[in-house]
């Protein structure tokens, strides 16, 4: 007896944080109470991507997409929708543009332009159930490789597909596999880089949480093609749910004989172990990652030798990122040609982005390479929050750059983003509006880099610190035009001399903001003014004597007693004492206080 209806509830980290676990258990209890537990199945899936609107509940077969569901909504959903067939319209998503409820997720702008390959199973299957993965053609790619293809044929297929590394570098995956396959050694390793560290990026986590078997299968395929029988997943320990699901997946694959000895009776064996990282950003760099796995300090070493020649325990090692691996089984199932038909000349397939910042639809999206920034921001992302003006979009995380209005029609792919002074990175995309100060944004990224530098090489250890200090000076209105030259020269030298990818790209946020928002830097330096009104040191608070009625509310709430004035007459702010906390503005009922 199969179920008539499926209720998919997002079990990703984001929705779990908003009680999706409780929703699931309440649904199960209530269905049982109503004797519907034989007809309706509740499934905890991976992330749907629309995290802004979570927790997500999707009802199949009528594809109803409920958003921001609370545990208290469960009875209503079951009573109304499941029993009476009436959609609970207050829980339907409303497009920010026209506020009309949309029932089917396919008609939601957020999903319309998406093409989900890496995320194909996220939000669709129960990630803790291998059978659901198998039902979706899972492990057939592995079977096909092992029984019908030679390792070189597998590599050729991946090469032909044009798949490039999704972790940031964009190196052709097939070529990487080929390098590792050429080295002769008694032992080789396949490593899955799950040390996702870009601020705001969480696609790798979501894939591992929502479709862990795709990683297991892809790693085994990679092992077969390069001649490795051991796989290691390097994952940050602060991803407990991903770790749990991955563990379950590995165990299930072992139980089904899809990992272990003699897979599909072919004599090929492959096992996977999980290694935990402590969350250092630099450990996403493959040599640092390998050293960390070996128990050493997470520090990069000069390449060459590349891991393909000498990696983990000095053995040939192929390192790929989670999203890269997630694409592999589909490519082998549907063919390289199919995959290569999606995307642009130099970048094939799709890319997952983590949309964040001042955008309406925050979440995880997957689009074909070549989709423009405008489509992503305005159509999928639903435009800028609170009707504000778009100012910039930061791509590529701390290694990327800030792009402006003029770049909005750039088709997104590896090469185009580099051309316009940013990069793909792992797919973070942070949107900024007119109230964001670009000097402060550059400073934010530098702060992150200074925090995350391992400190090994001089340019990164000291150079980035100095960049940060110069930026701080500018945001405090103490900068000089000479500082701007220093910033530029130092940025170029760091790019030119740093040891690893982290340092070689760390000045990108600065260079791109100087290039694209030069006037804003100059305003801070020459006019001691922050045009966006963000840099505290450059702001002063004023009380408009026309508007102030002397209610004393501001003065009573000021934590530093910086506001004085007689009752029923206009008040004044002592700018020496004012710490610019903003409490007075929040308290004033007459809009009498402004920032200049």
């Amino acid at each position: 007896m199969s179920y008539n209806m499926h209720i998919l509830v997002c079990g990703g980290t984001g929705c779990q944080a908003s009680s999706s676990k409780t929703i699931i258990s309440r649904m199960n209890e209530y269905l049982k109470e109503k004797n519907l537990d034989k007809e309706v199945q509740v499934i905890a899936t991976g992330c749907f991507g629309f995290c802004e609107q979570g927790p997500i509940v999707k009802i199949m077969p009528d594809n109803t997409f409920y958003t921001q569901v609370k545990p208290d909504d469960t009875e209503e959903i079951i009573n109304e929708h499941i029993i009476k067939g009436r959609k609970v319209s207050r829980l339907l998503y409303k497009e920010p543009e026209h506020h009309n409820p949309v029932s089917d997720s396919k008609h939601i702008e957020f999903y319309k332009k998406q093409l989900r390959i890496a995320l194909r199973n996220c939000g669709f299957i129960d990630p803790e159930n291998i059978e659901e993965y198998i039902a979706r053609e899972g492990y057939t790619a592995l079977a096909k490789c092992l029984t019908e293809m030679t390792p070189q044929e597998v590599i050729n297929e991946i090469k032909l597909s044009g798949l490039r590394g999704r972790g940031g570098g964009g190196f052709p995956t097939g070529l990487k596999w080929e390098f590792a396959s050429k080295y002769v050694a008694d032992q080789k390793f396949v490593v899955c880089n799950a040390d996702e560290g870009d601020p705001g990026a969480f696609m790798d986590r979501s894939i591992m949480e929502g479709d862990p078997h795709s990683i297991v299968e892809a790693m085994a395929i990679c092992g077969y093609s390069i001649g490795a029988n051991k796989g290691l997943v390097y994952i940050r320990a602060e991803y407990p749910l991903a770790i749990k699901r991955l563990r379950i997946a590995i165990k299930q694959a072992e139980d089904y004989g899809l990992l272990g000895e003699n897979i599909f009776g072919t004599g090929f064996g492959f096992t996977i172990e999980i290694r935990y990282g402590a969350g250092a950003f630099v450990c996403g760099e493959e040599t640092a990652l390998i050293h960390s796995m070996e128990g050493h300090r997470g520090e990069p070493t000069t390449k060459p030798p590349f891991p393909a020649e000498s990696g983990y325990l000095n053995k040939p090692t192929n390192v790929n990122n989670v999203e890269t691996f997630a694409n592999v089984p589909v490519i082998l199932n549907k063919g390289a040609k199919w995959f290569a038909s999606i995307g642009t000349e130099g970048s094939k397939g799709t890319k997952v982005f983590a949309l964040a910042g001042k955008i309406n639809n925050v979440g995880l999206i997957e689009v074909p390479m070549g989709t423009t920034l405008r489509e992503v921001i305005y159509e999928i992302g639903g435009g800028i929050k609170n009707g504000k003006k778009f100012k910039a979009v930061q791509t590529g995380g701390p290694s990327g750059g800030c792009l402006t209005e003029t770049h909005l029609d750039t088709p997104i792919d590896f090469d185009n983003l580099i051309k316009v002074g940013s990069m793909m990175g792992s797919g973070g995309m942070i949107v900024m509006d007119e109230s964001d100060c670009m000097v402060a944004v550059a400073k934010f990224y530098l702060d992150f880099i200074v925090e995350e530098s391992c400190g090994k090489c001089t340019p990164c250890r000291v150079g980035n610190k100095r960049l940060y200090e110069i930026l701080s000076k500018i945001t405090e209105g103490k900068g000089t035009m000479e500082d701007l030259d220093n910033l530029r020269n130092l940025s170029h030298v760091i790019k030119d001399t740093a040891l690893c990818g982290l340092g070689q790209t760390s000045p990108n946020p600065i260079l791109s903001t100087i290039d694209n928002f030069y006037d804003e830097f100059v305003a801070h330096i020459r006019d001691h003014r922050c045009p966006a009104g963000k840099c505290k040191a450059l702001l002063t608070y004023h009380i408009d004597s026309q508007l102030c009625i002397g209610c004393t509310l501001c003065a009573r709430n000021c934590p530093t007693n910086a506001i004085a004035g007689e009752r029923k007459s206009p008040h004044f702010i002592d700018t020496e004492k004012c710490i610019k906390c903003g409490t007075c503005i929040d308290k004033c009922k007459f809009n009498a206080i402004s920032i200049r």
Binding site: P304, V450, K456, K465, R466, E469, K495
Partner: protein, 584 residues
């Protein structure tokens, strides 16, 4: 080896595949500056983190600059070591280093020999455009080593020496980013770590971050004190290297000039640690024979092999790392401490000096000796047998400070009785020397027959681990010799696993033995320097009329007058020691 050809600046260069750009350039006379890179070729020790980024060069077709120290030459490669792009980058990187480095060169111990200072000058950096935060670390003053991490440039050389070469593991990188520094674990002090004070880190530090604790000012005070009798002992290895500081070629033995200089400085007596080395052989050799005989006669309580115990860093090493094996090393004290014990008992008695009025100073090639003389068991009522030790480098500095024209000093002899020594003792300074000296005496004591050939060539030389079988008139004595604590660890692991086949093992902590000690003039990994120094010692051995410790007349007299015989109760009290479990 496959030959490849490349262009570096204007030079067309042929080199072997696998050579790095920095080495290929060096061979063509182009010196690419570098700070972290260290190639102690003769010792097969390399520090190549490619982290300072001073040696960056431009390689045609490459996106960014390449570290010359870690980039291998390729056929047809075009390299520019000093294009304007390179010079700007190098200057900027240097400015960055200097922006987090104190500028108090005037009073820095490394001033004049600091590589950072030299390079700053070469690059003509006259101001540092970057102002900003500087790291502030607390300076640690241990008996041997002063650690001032504010001066550290994070080149990691000390880490390589401590971890890879010596396998001590006391120093390692801690913290991240701007705060990254080198430290014992958990921010402990060296004195609370497994540090053996071998001083190999000090020997390679390019800046003033790791320096020896300098006792020369204290020495000047003592020499100025009319109430004090100040005597000095000099270790064998010092005479083979001190001359280098005064322009003599490596391997020039300056024993006589050194004695004269010490006398000029005002020491009341100039004695020789070599005397105590002969004494050590008497005690240690007798112990070896006693343990060997007991073992061979079936005494199960006796363990073999016997390990030498002259080297204080080595003693520290096994106390920390092999506490389960504390009963194997010989209980004989090191020559420095035997000297102190005899000087402050027998000699003071003989001279009618009060123990408290005698200051015993040692000149050592070693930094661990500074620590050793402070060990509690080597003192009586708080008065140490040896008051303090100064290194070869410190002595050279003092001689220069005292305006002594070392090169034109006449030779002079050591004073008696504690200055007389045999050839056996002088070779203590080279790896294998203690073993050879012991063999000369043990053979004759064991067999009762004179030794036909005194030179045991098989225990000499710079291989890391040496093995030899010595025919003791029918009995085959198996000996092993290791220098460098990494090599020592290998032998100790064999013993621990029960695989050791040796009867006696000599271990010296520093590569090359004491001639390569942490307090010696810097040899910068040039094994030719080490060879020359050891040759000087063997030459001095050959030139001595007496070459066996048990033939030293003053040693014989010391036993007759005072100690009785080797391993006597008095000898045990004054010349032997015990070890402590210091494992963490």
């Amino acid at each position: 080896m496959e030959k490849i050809s490349l262009q570096i600046d204007q030079h067309q260069i042929e080199t072997e595949r696998g050579t790095t750009i920095i080495e290929a350039a060096r061979k063509s006379g182009i010196e690419i500056p570098a700070l972290c890179y260290m190639n102690l070729e003769g010792m097969c020790i390399k520090n190549q983190p490619s982290s300072c980024r001073i040696c960056v060069v431009e390689v045609e077709g490459r996106r960014n600059l390449a570290p010359a120290c870690a980039t291998k030459c390729e056929n047809g490669m075009k390299v520019r070591t000093s294009s304007m792009r390179v010079l700007n980058a190098r200057k900027t990187v240097m400015e960055l280093i200097l922006s987090d480095h104190p500028h108090d060169c005037l009073i820095c111990a490394k001033s004049g020999s600091c590589q950072l200072q030299g390079l700053t000058n070469k690059l003509r950096i006259r101001e540092v455009p970057f102002e900003g935060e500087r790291n502030r670390f607390e300076k640690e003053v241990s008996p041997s080593i002063i650690r001032d991490m504010n001066k550290c440039i994070y080149c990691r050389r000390c880490e390589t020496m401590c971890n890879d070469v010596q396998t001590v593991g006391a120093l390692g990188a801690v913290n991240r980013g701007f705060d990254a520094t080198i430290s014992p674990a958990f921010g402990n002090k060296l004195s609370d770590s497994e540090c053996t004070f071998c001083g190999q880190c000090v020997a390679v530090c390019p800046v003033g971050a790791l320096t020896e604790n300098d006792y020369t000012n204290r020495l000047i005070d003592d020499l100025n004190n009319p109430r004090k009798t100040v005597i000095v002992q000099t270790a064998p290895a010092v005479r083979a290297a001190l001359g280098e500081e005064f322009g003599f070629a490596p391997g020039t033995s300056v024993t006589g000039k050194m004695a004269s200089a010490l006398r000029e400085l005002g020491f009341d007596k100039v004695f020789d640690t070599d005397f105590a080395a002969d004494l050590t052989i008497m005690e240690e050799g007798s112990e070896v024979l006693a343990r060997l005989n007991a073992f061979l006669s079936g005494d199960k309580s006796v363990k073999l092999p016997v390990l030498t115990s002259c080297c204080p860093a080595w003693v520290n090493f096994f106390e920390y790392q092999f506490p389960d094996m504390l009963d194997i090393p010989s209980t004989a004290r090191s020559p420095q401490q035997m000297f102190g014990a005899i000087a402050k008992t027998w000699w003071t008695e003989k001279m009618g000096i009060k123990r408290e009025d005698l200051t015993v100073v040692s000149i050592m090639p070693c930094l661990a000796k500074k620590y050793e003389c402070g060990r509690e068991e080597f003192s009586e009522n708080g008065n140490p047998d040896v008051d303090y030790s100064i290194s070869t480098r410190e002595l050279a500095g003092l001689i220069k400070r005292a305006n002594i024209d070392f090169r034109s000093l006449p030779d002079s002899d050591f004073d008696n009785p504690l200055g007389e020594s045999t050839g056996a003792s002088v070779i203590f300074g080279a790896t294998g020397g203690v073993m050879e000296a012991a063999l000369r005496t043990a053979y004759e004591l064991h067999t009762g027959m004179p030794l036909a050939k005194l030179d045991f060539e098989e225990v000499r030389g710079l291989q890391g681990i040496k093995r030899a079988v010595v025919d003791m008139n029918g009995f085959e004595l198996k000996v092993g010799i290791a220098h460098g604590l990494g090599n020592a660890r290998k032998l100790l692991n064999e013993i621990r696993r029960g695989e050791s086949v040796y009867h006696v093992i000599e271990i010296m902590a520093c590569p090359g033995g004491c001639i390569g000690g942490g307090g010696q003039p810097l040899h910068r990994g040039n094994s030719a320097v080490l060879k020359a120094r050891s040759n000087a010692l063997y030459e001095e051995d050959r030139s001595k009329p007496l070459r066996k410790s048990h033939e030293n007349p003053y040693i014989i007299k010391l036993y007759e007058d005072f100690l009785g015989k080797p391993l006597s109760e008095k000898a045990h009290h004054l010349l032997h020691t015990h070890y402590f479990n210091k494992s963490k």
